[in-house]
């Protein structure tokens, strides 16, 4: 007896660790993330026939979850200001002396990722953590590849800066430009 939905459900369950990781990193809260994951699974099940076999299941799920999250942020925004859409002040790459001080307090990579603005964080998660190609990430996010690349490059420079990965030769150059 075949039962597509149960099979699909098992597929989802098997994918939960990755989906949760993406959700937690996206919304920075395990509780919110689990609700989001559940909502995404519900949506996926309802539209399971829209998933094309042969395409990336993970990308498809990431897109569903991410869209739900963006919706949620927008709804919150009407209720009050949200920092998510805006750059967080501490994320701006510091310059001059303030920058030198900030760089002395190097952060763990996880913390640094957490502190990236959403638009940089999500693109970093999809490509560097979940191994989607630029094109696949662009599809998930609904933005052009060029935008994926510029955000991703900035995300990684910020990450390098915050964690001290960045080689001195690069740091000394004024290659950073603005953060946004």
């Amino acid at each position: 007896m075949t039962d597509q939905n149960v099979a699909f459900g098992e597929r989802l369950v098997a994918f939960l660790p990755n989906l949760r990781r993406f959700a937690i990193s996206l919304c920075r809260s395990r509780d919110v993330a689990d609700d989001l994951v559940q909502a995404a699974c519900e949506k996926a099940l309802a539209g399971s026939e829209r998933f094309e076999e042969g395409t990336r299941f993970d990308a498809w799920m990431f897109r569903i979850l991410r869209n739900l999250w963006i919706d949620q942020l927008r709804r919150q925004k009407t209720a009050g200001p949200t920092e998510e859409i805006e750059a967080q002040p501490e994320l701006a790459v510091p310059s001059g002396e303030a920058g030198a001080d900030a760089r002395m307090a190097l952060k763990s990579v996880a913390t640094a990722i957490d502190q990236l603005v959403l638009e940089q964080r999500e693109v970093l998660l999809l490509t560097c953590v979940e191994d989607l190609s630029y094109k696949e990430a662009a599809d998930v996010l609904g933005i052009p590849i060029g935008t994926v690349m510029s955000r991703l490059a900035r995300a990684r420079k910020n990450l390098a800066e915050a964690t001290g990965i960045e080689p001195a030769t690069v740091r000394s150059q004024d290659m950073r430009g603005g953060t946004r």
């Binding site: 039962d3 990755n18 689990d34 559940q38 560097c128 990450l159 690069v170």
Partner: protein, 266 residues
């Protein structure tokens, strides 16, 4: 300095293996003489490995039972709704769980394999479909005698072009050894080979290269620590397998088919 010629996006795409062949060759040529450029590429490679590594533990977090239970319940009720008839849910669901676990697992294999890749990356590595320099702490390695990064150099390319799988070929006066593991075709017919490279003073590499229009390009190279253990961490080989599966590699070619494929047009 040539570095101004390359934008961050280009160098990042190089580090990620997403750069076109032509530009890849230009970047590689520039990298031979430009350490600052190398440092910029290194930054992109390291941030990728670091990000992947940093979030890897999250995959091991147990998924809350309730979440998994709810997803299964939603799936079961969705199928009930679809069938629109009374269902003997418990029995049927159980059967199906067993029956379908395999495909489901296979579908999930990719995410898992990606985490393995991250693991391998942390062992140390090189990554990058198009380019890859062995990086550790942002310090560029001295040029290797057998360069496997990006477009493969002539000596190694000649071996990949000619030597059958199973063979071991000494190069550089015996200081390095190439062991051909297998040949296989991708879905698009492109010929690829897996091989191992042992060089004195360098970590062993397990590598996959594919033959492009005129050159062999390294798709993936995984270094495994040589000191001490004396065995290959299973993860590096699993990573290779996972990678091969992800690029749609066919079964390894048998000796005859390999011979034919190697002789085929380049």
């Amino acid at each position: 300095m040539s570095e101004t010629e390359f934008s961050d996006e280009i160098l990042m795409a190089f580090a990620d293996g997403e750069l076109d062949d032509e530009t890849t060759r230009r970047v590689e040529a520039a990298l031979e003489t430009d350490d600052a450029l190398m440092a910029r590429v290194a930054m992109f490679m390291e941030t990728r490995a670091a990000a992947s590594e940093a979030l890897k533990p999250m995959l091991d977090e147990p998924v809350p039972d309730e979440l998994a239970r709810k997803v299964r319940a939603m799936a079961a009720s969705a199928s009930d709704a679809h069938r629109a008839r009374p269902v003997e849910t418990p029995v049927l669901a159980d059967e199906n769980v067993v029956e379908f676990r395999r495909p489901a697992d296979r579908a999930a294999a990719r995410p898992v394999s990606r985490s393995m890749m991250a693991m391998a990356a942390s062992l140390l590595v090189v990554a990058g479909a198009a380019g890859g320099y062995l990086l550790r702490g942002g310090v560029p390695e001295s040029p290797q005698t057998m360069n496997v990064a990006g477009a493969i150099g002539a000596p190694l390319a000649a071996i990949l072009d000619r030597s059958p799988s199973g063979e071991e070929v000494g190069v550089d006066g015996g200081t390095a050894k190439v062991r051909l593991v297998s040949s296989f075709a991708l879905g698009n017919g492109q010929l690829c080979r897996e091989y191992e490279l042992t060089q004195s003073g360098q970590p062993d590499l397990v590598s996959v290269a594919c033959r492009g229009a005129s050159v062999w390009q390294t798709q993936l190279a995984i270094a495994r620590p040589t000191s001490g253990e004396g065995y290959a961490p299973a993860s590096s080989l699993e990573t290779i397998d996972a990678y091969l599966a992800s690029i749609g590699a066919g079964e390894p070619l048998d000796a005859d088919a390999e011979k034919k494929a190697l002789a085929g047009s380049k």
